[in-house]
Symmetry: C2
Subunit: 184 residues, 2 copies
Amino acid sequence: MRYSTTHKEQTRQKLLESSGALAKRGGFNATGVAGLMKAIGLTGGAFYNHFPSKDDLFTEVVRRELSHSPIAQQPMTRQRLERCLEQYLSLAHVHNPEGGCAIPALGAEIAQGPLPVREEAEHWLRTLQQTWAETLEDPALAWALISQCVGALVIARMLANEDSQQEVLSASRAFINEAVHEHR
Amino acid sequence: MRYSTTHKEQTRQKLLESSGALAKRGGFNATGVAGLMKAIGLTGGAFYNHFPSKDDLFTEVVRRELSHSPIAQQPMTRQRLERCLEQYLSLAHVHNPEGGCAIPALGAEIAQGPLPVREEAEHWLRTLQQTWAETLEDPALAWALISQCVGALVIARMLANEDSQQEVLSASRAFINEAVHEHR
DNA sequence: GTCTATACTACGATAGAC
DNA sequence: GTCTATCGTAGTATAGAC
């Protein structure tokens, strides 16, 4: 064959990574198959050698984004978790959706998506929550902190003014720090 | 004229309300102009007698959704705020996006949208935050609670299992109650 | 494995009849 | 004010050359 097996796998991985970034920036539904392929230097017709449909790509993108998330890495010490939260609740993250967490950017689309997508999301959200719960020794607090981070990013990105965005991030950081240190 | 001036205004209001619900359920971009008009018993061609473009409709939908939100009503006593939070963080709200708050459902699309949309969002989010800040006597806490509520709803709606959804909501409610009562 | 070409559908938007 | 018809574009997906 003219193309090696590893080449197909590399193309697939490039497509997954690139599509994740494009989806987080502009929305998954808003970007066509041709655009996703063009971003990795290919044409639209080649897409279906890698995925049977655009919906299947979405499922794989969600899997990749949620499993590769830096906030889901183990082992997660308390100190490392606090450093993660600082980076998560930063202006850099607000202004860089394509390189950031998929949950604030794609959460609503995942919720509206087909069942396989939501099941994939549930699996990795539960994994994330359990990791944080072990570190914090409090399962409920883990869910609350995840919600706090995601909500703050959604709100900050809705705002037009950067000072307002920073206000939201700072408030959220202070709120979290108070709760976590009190719980220590 | 065959149609009264009030009739046009009524059609416009029906369209705004219906489009908001459809957008919150399936996403604003995902629904075509013809579908939005069909939902109020009209055809696609009549749309442009009411709005110059679909983008303009989005701006007006965001204005209506954020200004009419039950969480933004004044006067907002501390007791009323707590009742609002209970309703917001409920399974009923999770399963009823079309009748619920626009922020978790449309936040990402608003963030990706054109500038007029984000400016409209900023105005009403600031209004909401100031209302809550007066009630809580703490501007930062207001931003943090808004973020917590929005994040919890986004996360809960991503999950496939209802028990998991309830877990997130309960954790978020407990987290908020602890913080608010401690701050009292 | 990727290309071009294409079928089919849907989109946003406009024109003109009523 | 709303309709039908239509233009131009872009969407998902498929077929066949290379």
